[in-house]
Amino acid sequence: MSSKNEFSKGRRNALKTLGLGAGAAATGTTLPLWARYAEAQSSAPIKVGFQAHKTGIGAAYGRWYERTTNAAAKVINDAGGINGRPLEIVLEDDGTDPKRGAEVVEKFATQHECDVAYGTLFSHVVIGSAPRAGELKLPYFVVSEGHHVASGMLNRYTLQPGITDVKSQVAAMAPFVSDNLGKKVTMIFPDFAFGHDHRDFFSAAIEAQGGEVVAKIAIPPTESSFTKYFPKIPRDTEVIYHVMVGPAVLTFVKELGEFFGPSRPEIFGFIDSLEAVDINSPGLEFLDGTFFWEGNPRYAQDNQSEYDKAYRAAVGVDDNGASVSDPTDISTYAHMFGCWETLHVIKAGMEASGYAGAGDRAKLIEAVEAMTDLPASNAHPQGAKVFNGKTHQVFGHQYITRVTDGKLKLAHTTSIEDTLYPDEVDYTTQAF
C-alpha cells in the first residue's frame, strides 16, 4: 500500500517556515550558511521511502513500526522539518518478502524519487533489498537488528544507526547470565539463520565468561509441538536460553512448564518471540520469575527517563507497553524505538551535510559515518549510543528484565562497552 503521510504544514506554513528561515538568516544566529541556501533553494518535501512489513510474517512488527515512524515524522515536522523542508513518509508494503522488498526499493528510487529508503526489519528482506539500494545509490537505513550490516555483507549505501545488532545484544547478555543465573547453559533455538546467530554468538560469549553451553537444541521451523525435545536438556543445566519465534512460542512455553513443573532451572529468553504478545496471556504463567532481553523495556520502569516518557506519549503507548486506545494491542516496544531514532539520525545527517537533493546522497552517508556519540535525548529515547562509521552499525545499552507480578521489571542494564566487538568491515573504503 502506498500512502503519503505528509505532515507538512501546507503551503502557508511552509512559507511561514521560509520566512522564519529568512529571518534567522538575517539575524545570522540560528542557521548555518548552507541551510539558508538550502531553504531558499527548495521547500519541496524530503521523501523517505518506508519499506514496511504491512503484510506477511512481519505484520505485527510492521504495524508498530508504522505508528512509530508516523509519530517521529510528526515530531520532526512540528519542529520545522529537515533543513526547513517537511518530511514526507512514502510507505510501500514489502509483504515481508525479499523479492517484493527489492522491487519496493526500486520503486522508491525510480518512481517515487525518494531521497532515502528506510525502516526494514526482517533480515532476509534487508539482504534481498540492499544490493538494489547499492546499485541505485539510494541510502538505505535499516532497522533490523541483524548482523548483516556490520558483518560486511552489504554495501556503503546500507546503514543501521538506530538499533543494535544481534551479535552485540547476545554478547552483552553473557556476563549477566554467567554471574547471576549459572554457567551451564542449554540453548533452545529455531533451526534457521536467526537461531544459528544466537547459537554461535552466545556460545562464544559465554565461554569467554568461563561458562559453557552444555546442549544446543535446534528446533525445526515447521515444529508445532516441543515435548520430544525437552528430554535432551542435560540434568546439570543451570540456565535455559531460549529464543523461539513465531506463533508456536505459546505452545513452547506451556509444554516447557508441563515438563519441568515447579522445579526448573533459571530461564533466560529473548523477547523477540513475545513482541506484540501480552506477557499475561494464558499459558505464559510459567515465565513468572524468568528473565528477558529487551531492546527497550516494554513497561515504564521506576527510573523511566523523561525522553522515554515523551517518546511513549508521542507514539501512543501506555505504561504497560500497549496502545493507549486499546490495552489489548501490545506494542513491539523492544524494537520499534529503532524507527524513531533512525529517522532522527537521517535528520541529523541531512542537516550536518546540508542535504539539498539526490545529488547529496554521498554527502549524507559521509555525514552519518562521521557520527560517533549519540547521547540520550528526545531523539534517542532508548538511551545513549555510539555509532561506528566504519561498520555502519550503532551500539547501545541493552536491558534485562524479569517477569514479576505480571510485568517485566528491569533487572540489569548493560554498559555500551559490553556490546562492542572488533570491526569486521570498513565500508568507508568502498567507493560511492
Binding site: 500500500m1 502506498s2 504491512k54 503484510t55 510501500e92 508494503d93 518478502d97 525479499p98 523479492k99 527489492a102 522491487e103 526500486e106 520503486k107 528510487a109 525510480t110 518512481q111 533480515s123 532476509h124 539482504i127 534481498g128 540492499a130 544490493p131 538494489r132 547499492g134 546499485e135 541483524g146 548483516h148 555483507m153 552489504l154 554495501n155 533451526d191 534457521f192 539463520a193 536467526f194 544459528h196 525445526p220 521451523p221 515447521t222
Partner: protein, 314 residues
C-alpha cells in the same frame, strides 16, 4: 500469410519490441520488465509441464531454487565466475528434475501434485538445514564485483535488461521450436489422451520424464539468472508460494500457449504493484481477478484470444 509466418512475425516482433523498450522505458518500468522477463522464463518452464504435458506440479520452486543455489553456492564457496556458475545452476536443475521426475512420475493426478509439493518442501528444509553454507532463510548477497559475466557488469541496468531479454528469448524460441517438434506433438498427445498415446506405441514415461527435465532445467535457468541479475539468493524462493506463482501466471496468461506465461507474469506483476497502492489486501484482488478469469476466460488471456480470434496461435 501462412501460419508459420504469422507465428514467427508475432514472436520475433514481441522480442524486437522488448529490445526497443530497453531504450524507451522509464527507469522504474525498465527495471520491472527485466524482472518480469526472468520470471516469465520460469513460467515458460512451468508451462511445458503443466500447459503442454498436462502435469500439474506444486513444487517447481525446487527447480528454480536448484538453479539459484547451484549458481550462487559455487560462486560463494568455490569462487566460480558467473559463466560456469550458471552452468552449475543448470546442471543442478537438470539432475534434480531427473531424480524427482523419475520418482514422482510413478504417480499421477492429485498424487503427482502432492509428491512434487513434498519434494519441494524437502528442498526448502534442506536449504535451511545447511544454513552454514546457504545462510538459510536470511540468504546471502552476490556482490556487485562478482557479477561480471564475460566482462559485462550484470548490475548495470542496461546489461541486466539485455541479459534478461536474452534468457527470455532463448526460452521462448526453444518452446516455440519444441511444440512444433515431434516430441512436442507427443507430449500434447499425452496431455489429451495418455492411454491412446501409449496404445499408439509411444513410451509415455520417457516422454513425461523428458518433459519434467526440460521444464525443471528451464526453471533452473530462470533461478540462476534471477540470483545473478538481482544479487541475492535466499530460502524464500524455495517456499511454497514460489511454486504457486508460476501456476498462477500460466493460468492467467493461458496454459498451453507460448506467450501465455509472459502475458500472465506481466499482468500479475502490475496487478499486484498497482493494487498494493490502494490496499494491503492486494493478494485478495489478485485472487478475485483469478476467480473471474477462471469463470469467464477459463483458457487464460492468450488461450481466450486463440479460442475466439487467432486460432493459429501456438
Amino acid at each position: 500469410m501462412t501460419e508459420l509466418r504469422k507465428t514467427m512475425a508475432l514472436h520475433i516482433g514481441l522480442l524486437l519490441l522488448l529490445l526497443a523498450l530497453n531504450w524507451l522505458l522509464p527507469a522504474y518500468h525498465h527495471g520491472n520488465l527485466s524482472r518480469i522477463m526472468v520470471l516469465a522464463s520460469y513460467a515458460i518452464g512451468y508451462n511445458i509441464l503443466f500447459g503442454y504435458t498436462g502435469l500439474l506440479s506444486l513444487g517447481h520452486a525446487m527447480f528454480f531454487t536448484a538453479g539459484m543455489y547451484g549458481m550462487a553456492l559455487t560462486m560463494r564457496h568455490l569462487g566460480w565466475t558467473p559463466a560456469p556458475a550458471i552452468l552449475a545452476g543448470l546442471l543442478s536443475g537438470l539432475l534434480l528434475s531427473l531424480v524427482v521426475g523419475f520418482l514422482a512420475l510413478r504417480t499421477s493426478g492429485v498424487a503427482f501434485m502432492i509428491v512434487t509439493l513434498m519434494f519441494a518442501q524437502a528442498v526448502f528444509l534442506t536449504v535451511l538445514y545447511f544454513g552454514e553454507y546457504t545462510r538459510g532463510d536470511e540468504g546471502f548477497v552476490i556482490q556487485q564485483a562478482e557479477r561480471i559475466f564475460l566482462g559485462i557488469d550484470l548490475s548495470d541496468p542496461n546489461n541486466r535488461y539485455l541479459a534478461a531479454l536474452l534468457a527470455f528469448s532463448l526460452c521462448l524460441l526453444f518452446t516455440l521450436w519444441l511444440v512444433r517438434h515431434p516430441f512436442g506433438k507427443t507430449i500434447i498427445a499425452i496431455r489429451e489422451n495418455e492411454d491412446r498415446t501409449r496404445m499408439l506405441g509411444y513410451n509415455v514415461f520417457r516422454h513425461k520424464l523428458t518433459a519434467v527435465v526440460i521444464s525443471g532445467t528451464i526453471s533452473a535457468l530462470a533461478g540462476a539468472m534471477y540470483g545473478l541479475l538481482f544479487g541475492y539468493a535466499g530460502a524464500t524462493f524455495a517456499s511454497v508460494q514460489y511454486s504457486i506463482f508460476p501456476l498462477l501466471w500460466v493460468l492467467l496468461g493461458g496454459a498451453g500457449t507460448i506467450l501465455g506465461p509472459f502475458v500472465g507474469t506481466l499482468f500479475m506483476f502490475y496487478l499486484i504493484d498497482l493494487s498494493s497502492e490502494f490496499t494491503t489486501a492486494y493478494m485478495l484482488v489478485a485472487g478475485i481477478v483469478l476467480v473471474a478469469l477462471t469463470l469467464f476466460a477459463p483458457h487464460g488471456l492468450m488461450g481466450e484470444l486463440r479460442r475466439r480470434l487467432f486460432r493459429w496461435l501456438p
